[in-house]
Each structure stands twice: as structure tokens, then as C-alpha cells.
Symmetry: C2
Subunit: 140 residues, 2 copies
DNA sequence: CTCCATGCAAAAGGTTTGCACTCCC
DNA sequence: GGGAGTGCAAACCTTTTGCATGGAG
């Protein structure tokens, strides 16, 4: 789907590119797991030690706003960030421990709101969220 | 849809019924807007002043776990709680200000995960979440 | 009578903010 | 050179927790 590297797309958007931002974008482009801001910081610092948590938050929020990154709020634990792959993958979260998994429910190609239900929003993400309790936290 | 009053269903589940819990359940049963824990506390105290925030959180978490209440994490602002109406209503949230609206996308009757993708979870809520920015926070 | 729920306040995160400094464009 | 981005640490909010007390079943 999304074959163009993230950095190219960002350059095309005339996004101010600093070393910190570049490294953070690279982390998000490479990892297809759900990283917390803290984990993004960790991996970014492996490449560039002088990165701060505040910048990670700033940058992730911008990437989300640009629709390049998806944010998933698990209600337990910190917000997680996921590169927006464009495939129809969705999420299953544990409300107690925050465990997060990808799922691929079928027949949801048409995840779009009619204009009459958009309320003037600029929508950057559509997703199906299943909430429950994992087997460790209170399974069936 | 859900015609049985919440309290009756709770009694049927042999749920320990204290004055505080009853009042909180009544608030949730009556209100079809998305209330934060703080707002639930406010309304519960109108009926019973000696209710604490901790109890509101405890009780709401239990109701969520029982599948009787839905929790929506907007990423901005506090978690919101919604009575589980059973109709196919979903949510549109503003990532910046936390504004939350009901939407009714079509053709999503089959919001269920195949067992192979449930990972042993006990699922209590399925919903479609549209994230974006409202017209005040950065519309189109 | 026995647990379990409650209240209070403190603790525990996670995320944002203010300000001085840096450096990308 | 100017304005946007950054780092640091403190502030902010929301939610959970510990412990003594009280009340539902």
C-alpha cells in the first residue's frame, strides 16, 4: 500500500526537518508494532542521544495530525503510536493491562462517514476498536 | 432495544447493591450523553451527597467490565462513559479538545471477531472510532 | 457476622507547558 | 536573520491505591 517512505512524504509536505524529527520519523517508519512515546524516545536515542521526551510528544502529535501516524488509546497505560499502514488493520485492547493486538476483521472496507455526520471535522483516522480483558486479566 | 432497566439487570447478576452504586447506575441509565467520571460524580451527588470520586471510578469500571457501560477514550481529556444502548452508534472525537459526538455509520452490523482473532479475550465492547480535529481545532 | 464497598487523601503515572537557547530554511 | 523547534523540569490532570470504617447480604 504505502510504499513511499515516510520521510519523502514529509519532505513533500514542506515539513521542517530537524535531526530529532528525522530520527523519530525513521523509528515510526521502521516499526510496525505499537510504541508508547517512551519507547519511541528510547529507540530514537539509540540513533541520536540528544532527543527529549517533549520533542517526541510534539513530533508524534504532528505526525498524527498529518494522518501519517495513528494513535491508539488503550485506557490502561500510555497512548500507543502506530505507523499508518493503510491496510485494514484494527485493534483489540485489554482495558486492565493495556495489552494491544492487531486484528483484521472482514467486510469493513467502507469505513467512511457521510458528510452529514462529519460535523466539520478533519478526520485523520478511522478504526475499529475491540475492548475487553485478556486471559491474564479476566478472560472468559 | 435495551428495554430492561439497568438496575434490574444488575440485580439479576447478583451485584452487590449499595446506595452509592444504585445512584451511579441510575445516572448512567438516564443519561445518553457521554459523561466523564467527574460529571457522573456531580450528578450522583445531586441525589446522594455522600458519594466519592473513588467509588465512581470503582463502579464505572465494574459496569464496563460487565458490558453495561461503554468507555470512550478521547486521548484529550478524561475518559467518557456511555450507557451501552445496543444500537449501532459509534464515535467521532476531536484529538485536540476532546469533543465527542455520536455517529451512525452504515453497514457495520457484523462487528465481531472470529475466534481465531480473539486471543482469549473476553470482549465487552466493539466500536468504530473516527479521530480528527473539530472545526475549532483545525478543521478542513 | 463477615466480607466487601466506601471515603479520604496521597501517590502515581502520562502529557503538556514555559522559557531560554539553537539552528533549519 | 527570523521564527520555529528543542531541552529541561515543573506543572497539570486523571486515575488508582492504602487503610480505617461502615453496611449489605
Amino acid at each position: 500500500m504505502t510504499s513511499t517512505p515516510l520521510l519523502e512524504r514529509l519532505r513533500a509536505l514542506h515539513w521542517r526537518l530537524t535531526p530529532q524529527r528525522r530520527v523519530i520519523a525513521e523509528v515510526m517508519d521502521g516499526e510496525h508494532v505499537h510504541l508508547s512515546a517512551e519507547e519511541v524516545l528510547e529507540r530514537a536515542r539509540e540513533r541520536l542521544p540528544e532527543v527529549s521526551l517533549a520533542t517526541v510528544y510534539n513530533t508524534l502529535n504532528e505526525l498524527v495530525s498529518m494522518g501519517e501516524v495513528q494513535q491508539v488509546d488503550a485506557a490502561a497505560g500510555p497512548t500507543r503510536y502506530d505507523p499508518n499502514t493503510g491496510d485494514g488493520h484494527h485493534h483489540l485492547v485489554c482495558l486492565k493491562c493495556g495489552d494491544l493486538r492487531d486484528v483484521h476483521p472482514q467486510g469493513l472496507d467502507v469505513l467512511e462517514l457521510p458528510r452529514s455526520e462529519r460535523f466539520g471535522y478533519r478526520i485523520v483516522n478511522r478504526e475499529v476498536l475491540f475492548q475487553g480483558y485478556c486471559s491474564d486479566c479476566g478472560g472468559p
